[in-house]
Symmetry: C2
Subunit: 216 residues, 2 copies
DNA sequence: CAATCTTTGTGCACGCGTTCACAAAGACAT
DNA sequence: ATGTCTTTGTGAACGCGTGCACAAAGATTG
């Protein structure tokens, strides 16, 4: 029986072994003292806890540059996600296959969601259409949304939204980048305007990850 | 002089006003008691602190489905990022313009980085090539990397890596999704195998955001 | 100039996740 | 069966970010 110790696993994952053991203990994965964890059993338990044992049908709305790339991406299937449908508002795209899946028109959004029992939706439409699409998805029964449009979506309680904002990713990198270079040149506080031009403040909804108080 | 109070700002951002004030105090943004913060000055200070006042040249390596979508994405420029070059290993793509920028061959990677003073690189190659591309970028002077390939990159100290893993985003949604549905059906612990088939454990590098102990 | 009123800046306490450290459990050898 | 040795599971301490609450600052008004 192949086993792994918490120490090995922790080293590989780059985390503390005690934390790893405590985390495992939360989901009831019992190891064997003096031996470690049964790899099989552990993998199964974690897979199950993470929801990887079942297949999740997802729909992608907005089959443009990004949406098409997502549709072509094979990495989803290997993690238990199945692209149930591709949806776009452009009538010219209807019926045209992308990644072997025919694009369907937005009119059919509701029926597609219901017929396939879809609970996860991906939004890759322009920012202007995102909230509207989101509302329709939610109304049709979707309760989890992955949003690529640079907009804060407002959803009712019970619906989860995760936003992937590539600009913010780059901003975070740029921030640290600036810090690296700015250490020695910290005295260069030359042209700091005392009173910049006027501009309005940003209103923004609550976000899980990033504070986000900056205007675009 | 247009001003905003920490209370207004906090309400708009959905955070606690005390936290917001404390955060501002860290970057030395002095407000005026009884009045609030000068919007102009505040915007400028935060922009500067976040590195938004300068223009960052970035290169995208791997101009496939995703890379091309990124190149076409206009959201970067508006945040102060400029696509300095597109790089791909496929000779057939060399010279072909994507989003108005001619694709250059990997051979020129080093010179492109140096000539343009690029410090931020985006990797959108297949997973197998990611580490190799990363090494070359770092060797050429890149110190911040945004990685879309589903691989953990190992880099020397001083180099920042941010990984965007869309599968994990979906997994997080699926996890919560399962929890929503699993409340009532919690008793369905029927077919739990006591000893699954054998399989190897995953080794994985340290990650900032997600524990990531699961195999693909 | 004094009184009042608004809003900042921050000391302090609370809560939570992480880490340490160790007793107990169990495998394995003798 | 007994002893040894490895590794788990977890109580307790630590550190850190968040939120509360309030004194001080400064604008504004009479
Ligand atoms: N391309 C990128 O790399 C990238 C990166 C980050 C964010 N984004 C964001 O992702 C979104 C899509 O980007 P893109 O480059 O694919 O844009 P795109 O213009 O290429 O594609 C948008 C697609 O959405 C469709 N669409 C428009 N309104 C719709 C609606 N109401 N219902 C359904 N479909 C609709 C359009 O027909 C089009 O096919 C944008 O919001 C963009 O800001 C893109
Ligand atoms: N498409 C998606 O939506 C998506 C989503 C998540 C992650 N990813 C990941 O992003 C990466 C790219 O995805 P894709 O769909 O664009 O793949 P793709 O196959 O369409 O594009 C890959 C590109 O990289 C180029 N390339 C290969 N080796 C290279 C090298 N050594 N140097 C420079 N260029 C090289 C290829 O010529 C090709 O143009 C993959 O790792 C994929 O797993 C993609």
């Amino acid at each position: 029986m192949p086993t792994v110790s918490s120490e090995e696993l922790a080293a590989a994952a780059g985390v503390n072994s005690a934390k790893l053991r405590k985390d495992f203990s939360y989901l009831g994965s019992y190891g064997t003292r003096g031996v470690g964890y049964d790899v099989e059993y552990l993998v199964y338990q974690i897979s199950r806890e993470l929801g990887l044992t079942q297949d999740w049908p997802v729909v992608i709305v907005g089959i443009g540059n990004l949406g098409a790339a997502l549709a072509n991406y094979g990495g989803f299937a290997s993690r238990g996600f199945r692209v149930a449908a591709l949806i776009d508002a452009d009538p010219a795209m209807a019926g045209r296959p992308v990644a072997g899946i025919p694009v369907q028109h937005t009119d059919e959004l509701e029926s597609i969601i219901r017929d396939n029992g879809v609970s996860i939706g991906v939004i890759a439409t322009p920012a202007g259409a995102a909230q509207q699409v989101c509302d329709r998805l939610v109304a049709a029964g979707v309760t989890s949304i992955l949003n690529f449009a640079p907009t804060v979506l407002s959803v009712p309680d019970g619906v989860d939204v995760r936003k992937v904002d590539l600009s913010i990713e780059l901003q975070i990198l740029a921030f640290h980048e600036q810090r690296k270079a700015g250490e020695e040149a910290a005295a260069d506080t030359a042209a700091v305007p005392a009173a910049p031009r006027k501009q309005s403040a940003t209103d923004q909804g609550p976000d899980g990850d990033v504070p986000a108080v900056m205007p675009a």
